[in-house]
Amino acid sequence: MTLPDWARSRWVIVPLAMAIAVAGWNGYVALNDGGLVEGRVVDGAGRPVSGATVILLERNFVMHNERQRTRADAAGRFRFTGNDNHSLQLEAESAPLGRSERRVVRLWFRAQNVTLAEPLQFAGRLP
């Protein structure tokens, strides 16, 4: 079976390929835009810091403003829901350890579900 000439034209093939790519991307976005931001908080020795406050800051235009706070569980895990931004910063606070470094989290689309590959880390160590 051979395709008709018009179907083999670049004016059909290229826009069709682009339409498929866009549809595929939008499908992927629809399946992964739950607004979940997850990760862990550890001390300088890599041990989980339970009860650490994790702050989520989101970008407006030129600044990052605080949007949400949550607490890490016993295993040092934290979870934010309802994020609807594409450019975030995360920071952890703990009374004995002070503040962690601020982590920039760039997302490919708004509300992308993301799990931090590297935990938020305090400089100091738990006693």
């Binding site: 670049r10 235009f61 030129v62 931004n85 594409h86 450019s87 760039r106 997302l107 689309f109 708004r110």
Partner: protein, 271 residues
Amino acid sequence: MGRRRHTLFRHAALVAVSAVMLVPFYWVIKTAVTNENIYAYPPRLLPENPHLFNFVDVWYLIPFPRYLANSLIVSALVVAGNVVCNAMAGYALTRNFPGRQGVLLLLLSCMLIPFQATIIPAYLITAKLGLLNSYVGLALPLLSTIVCIFVFKAAFEAVPHSLIDAARIDGLSEWRIILRILMPLSKAAIATNVILAFIWSWNAFLWPLIITREPTMQTLPLGLARFLSYMEDTTGALYAFAVMVLAPSIFVFLMAQKEFIRGLTSGATKG
């Protein structure tokens, strides 16, 4: 051997000149995928830690999809208007009628008048028609362009008269001669019209600036100016925006470049 070396040298020279011409494009893209300051000294030739997040910023920090949709709608109207109106005008100019030379002279002389000089009457006419702040109003001044009329005229004149006469004897009306005979034989002229109309409409700044009243009706060049007013430093996001504005017109050109070049040169060697 000598001829081969000559060809090699010629191609090397062409590659070198092309590379020089492409340096500004490369620099824009390099800045868009990094956050390097373009004034940094010494400049880096290769991007360091390239990423595409500047494009994500542009998409979300301003209503980019809205600007894109506006530009696409206006450009589609302009392209359709140019192909239809210019084909009709071009065909008329290939026919003999009283005052034809005068019309040709008038059109040629009108090409000398810059758009800025006629923008006030154009605005008043658009306002009288009630088309301010509308897509049709945005497209109106570019719906037909004189250069493109002459491109169609040259293409239609290259079609043998015997073919048109045969079609007329077969009973085809003038409209159908344009549609069934001339247009299929003038693909290069159509491509030229599409490219030129698209690029002119896509890059139009002054006219959309004057006739749009709401930010939701603004097109990409206006969005770029607005973005520039927010992001005054030379950030990657600004260059990412420039790349996103440029990309569609470069894409259209690349798609139709073969026909475009043929369309521009058709009729050039006539006679």
